[in-house]
Symmetry: C2
Subunit: 644 residues, 2 copies
């Protein structure tokens, strides 16, 4: 009872159809370097995954930055039937660095030439894509065209959709040699096996060397060399139909192609202006692009029903853990959430940080979601040191955040802020998981663990760096407490000094943090003593203490079983105490909580009542874990808890 | 240079291919009644539009509610090459109301039987879909199957994927007669022309009457009757492959179908539990569904390149207006925004309001975006009368709002709140457009025009209703001013009376609204006089006055040229004055502005500087328009403006 064959079927006008072997693995290669390309390539990957019905293997040629971002992204993405390999672009640089190149893509624009060398020697075929490509169809259909290659053909390309290579764009315009309009290298079918056989590596080098004698440099990077090569060896090229690379450059001639086509397959944003390119149909193309830009990447974690996937060890382990959960457990939802692997995109924006030589640097660590974005500028103004922020967002919100950051003068000018997106999934706000992402990606020996609705006093960064040295943090286990205050007023003139803060406290303009609603959280700071303190002083742990502290980066992580409300910081401070950190209050440091309307967090109202019911169970389990890890001394937490 | 034929090509296993005429119009019919079905059907429509490459004509059989919602939605959606027709379900009720039916879909579940009668008599074929269907492929492919019908076949259906009709589900389970497992009617290819020829209408009636003698009622609505009919006339049915209607009911046997298929085409959420159905692959299906649920519907406004569309008069007019804009005008972006047609989904949630008999009812009118959602519960507690809210949101945010509202006891219990979604588009917050949507959809003779961050005093609703009578609003042009105050504190104990408010004002717990930053906005209210006033008093218009007022619903609309910041309410009050409304301050009414953090609105920081530059131009044009409409008396606004 199945009249259709269950494999992608592709039909050509000449009547032949192409029956792809079901579950055939398709290889895709991409050169990707830097923060921006790493962000752009995700949209390409989403568009490919959205339409695909085959297992895929992505091969990324990356610099250190892109490697860090993409490897953690794919690891946390956990898309079934997707393999990823990375190849170090730095090792390939010497292959192409001798070629003078004027194209905006720089040296990475030339690296497609090295793929026979970079990719595994047993890899026979690969589709090579620029990062500014969007797929509107199943990539298997493109892969199928390899079968149409004649025995001689080694490379599949679409004609260039501009007049560049005709050499008549302006007076004395002298492009590299090409067949007619030449070919565009944004989409390439590369028959690696055959290329190796014909000594491609030597051939393109000879071509490049010869042409460079008169041309001096490339204008369009690898594309000039590919075209010069093809001009000499036309039998080697297989010309692809135009719709496999609809080029939206500024003076594109692609309209002829796409207006005839009801069925676009690949769009190439090859203008440096990208989506802002002028083109009377750009709205149409932009819509296709935006579809994937804001698409929830979690939805792409779907099995290929037809093809049994070779599950990764991580996903096998996860599956096992999920099966062990008891659905009738009142904490089921919370235990389930703890097993959720959230997709993480590290360093979403440009980031540039050079470690200080004195090894005393401190990163401000915080987490936030969309509704606290407006705090970022203020925090940047109050803290000039490095910042590690984890942002809990949907794909669409991450794009909104990107637009916000790009439009903000304050944020644009700060390169020492690492923005790490933790993608939303499920009904809870996994606050400690998000905090851990920010913590683990701090690149300094010390971290200041804070919340995003606090503003540090001016000069806190310098003061903390001095304190770190004075209190010999490098060789002792200490947590430096920054006393926390709050204002209930919107328009606060921020105190410039401890003296000013104290007088505002006396006048009732400021309060100690949560004075009215939860004094226990900060009472152990001993604000009375702090008023007159001129040197740091040690305080003892007490139940429910949750100060904001500076610690070494190697401090314990936050316990991820606590999600949403309650016990997320308390449990962390408890573990610091269990590890015998000294809690030292700093006499000249302070931070102030800024008012905000009750946050709208869909997860809160959903979890609150059931969470309260289960919180005690989770607390007990946490205490038991502490006792296991730290021995009988940790029993005091349980006792303290029971006495409350 | 185009080896592929540019039309959708469909290939069958028997080797025949089906070449659809390019641009062939495809007809789709849906029965849709009530608020919830009207929301659900949008996801179906999005999934169809996403994959389609043909012009479509949707035929909706609707009740009054669904007609109002869907007609305004499609009108504002403006999708090229999509036609929509509506047919009144009430007129068809008598055709099926005689059939006792136990299915949860009620009488609307039976209406598919009446389509030969309901739809135009020259309509030859139609695809009939339930609202709980999601498409994962181009609907043209399904339409193409009509060509495979033998000359006798009149109806195409997929087998039912449960054992229901086998009659062995429980002891004494006696289903209606069916061929084997029977057929599911969630997806039907209906060959109307042939059905009319064989007198379908008579035939199904006879079948139903006969079976009802023993069965007494239908269990599965139309499906029972279709199946009984087919059992008697098996030659009339064309069986569709299972993947054209993968049924996710509770005890589905669809797994056999979909696990063999790499390429699912249609999913049918036919369990009353919908997405919460238990099924080991439900995650997979849910992902497909969620793709369209949260998909930005604006992206579907794309031309079909292959098919020249017959543009609607509205879109021709719009195109003309767009072409007349001058791109070099400094206000270009703002004029462009004013021409943007925002998609509007009226009555997004259940709504039920009965007009009062005394004709004095008042609707609270306000607008908001995501970041003010947490105000809704408080407003509902302070105002028991009808409310009309316009929410400016993306598709994904609207779903978040839906989950929020469904989880809130306060909101769930209020049926007299109309929630109207205005979908986001462009970089500005079109505040006056959004306000107008709320205003135009108020269903009472009077409206209270407010902002969402204000809480009305307790009892304001009753007080205003009395004032409306006392001040003879029905026969006079009056705007009743509700004096506005503000608090800068989070935890406010809301004053229970004017006396209490006045003492809080004296103590500095409250201020008159914007006392510190923009006193002009409310100074003409004359707060000094109000303190002691016991009767309403008239005040004169002054420049920049922007009080919150109660007016007749037939008041002028807000001027939509003002977007984002500034002049959005000022211009409205000015026009009330130009129309010679008397501004009457109410002595015993007040409202208080609740504090909130500076709102994060992506549009604000983007528009602010350029907007300020252009605001004066827009103001001038507004003044000129006023003079044109109201004559020389309106010159005073221009003079007032110039004197500032």
């Amino acid at each position: 009872y199945d009249p259709f064959r269950q494999v992608p079927l592709f039909h050509f006008s000449d009547g032949r159809s192409l029956l792809l072997t079901p579950c055939l693995l398709i290889h895709v290669a991409c050169v990707c370097a830097g923060h921006n390309a790493s962000r752009d390539v995700v949209t390409l990957v989403k568009s490919v995954l959205f339409h695909r019905r085959n297992p895929l293997h992505f091969h990324f040629i990356t610099d250190t930055v892109a490697n860090r971002i993409l490897s953690s992204l794919f690891q946390s993405w956990m898309v079934p039937s997707v393999q990823v390999s990375f190849y170090d672009a730095d090792e390939l640089k010497s292959e192409v660095s001798w070629i003078p190149n004027k194209h905006y893509s720089g040296i990475y624009g030339l690296m497609k030439l090295t793929l026979t060398k970079a990719l595994p020697s047993d890899l026979s075929k690969v589709i090579v894509l620029d990062t500014d490509i969007t797929f509107a169809t199943d990539i298997a259909e493109l892969w199928g065209i390899f079968r149409k290659f004649t025995d001689k053909q080694v490379i599949g390309l679409v004609e260039n959709q501009s007049d560049w290579y005709l050499g008549n764009l302006w007076k004395n315009h002298k492009p590299w040699p090409a067949l007619g309009r030449g070919f565009n290298t944004g989409v390439i079918l590369l028959y690696l096996e055959r290329l190796r056989r014909i000594s491609w590596e030597q051939m393109w080098r000879l071509t490049a060397e010869r042409e460079l004698m008169s041309m001096l440099s490339t204008s369009l990077a690898d594309q000039d060399i590919f075209n010069a090569f093809i001009k000499q060896n036309p039998v080697l090229v297989h010309q692809l139909p135009c719709f496999w690379n609809v080029q939206l450059s500024d003076h594109t001639r692609s309209e002829q192609c796409y207006t005839e086509v009801s069925d676009l397959k690949v769009i190439h944003w090859n203008s440096p202006k990208k989506l802002r390119v002028k083109n009377k149909h750009v709205e149409f193309f932009r819509n296709l692009y935006l579809t994937f830009l804001e698409y929830d990447g979690n939805l792409l974690r779907r099995e290929l029903f037809g093809c049994p996937s070779q599950a990764s060890p991580e996903s096998v382990q996860l599956q096992k853990a999920l099966e062990e959960l008891d659905e009738d457990d009142q904490c089921y939802d919370f235990r389930r959430e703890r097993l959720t692997v959230h997709r993480v995109h590290l360093y979403f924006l440009q980031y540039d940080y050079t470690p200080t030589e004195d090894n005393t640097d401190i990163t401000l660590v915080a987490q936030l979601s969309m509704d606290r974005l407006q705090m970022l500028e203020a925090i940047c103004k109050h803290w000039e040191g490095p910042i590690s922020l984890a942002l809990y967002m949907s794909d669409a919100e991450a794009q909104q955040f990107l637009r916000y950051a790009q439009a903000s003068e304050v944020l644009k000018n700060r390169k020492n802020v690492g923005y790490h997106i933790v993608y939303k999934e499920g009904q809870f706000y996994p606050v400690n998981l998000v905090r851990n992402v920010a913590l683990k990606n701090a690149n300094t020996p010390y971290v200041f663990l804070t919340d995003v609705d606090f503003l540090p006093m001016y000069g806190l960064y310098d003061y903390l760096r001095k304190s770190v040295v004075q209190l010999d943090m490098a060789h002792t286990k200490k947590a430096l407490v920054v006393p926390a205050f709050e204002t209930l007023r919107y328009r606060l003139s921020f105190p410039k000094s401890k003296a000013e803060l104290l007088s505002m406290l006396d006048m009732g303009t400021l309060y100690t943090f949560r004075y009215h609603v939860w004094p226990k959280g900060h009472a152990p700071t001993n604000y009375a003593k702090w008023r007159t303190a001129t040197t740091s002083y040690k305080v003892e742990w007490e139940p429910d203490f949750e100060p904001y502290v500076v610690v070494r980066r190697d401090c314990p992580e936050y316990d991820q079983r606590f999600v949403g409300f309650g016990w997320n910081k308390v449990s962390h401070i408890m573990e610091l105490d269990a590890q015998e950190y000294d809690l030292m209050v700093l006499p000249n440091a302070f931070m102030i909580h800024m008012p905000h309307a009750p946050s709208f967090d869909i997860s809160k109202f959903r979890s609150s009542s059931s969470y309260r019911n289960c919180l005690n169970t989770l607390k007990d389990e946490f205490h038991q874990d502490l006792s296991r890890k730290y021995g009988s001394a940790a029993l005091k937490y349980l006792t303290a808890q029971r006495n409350i």
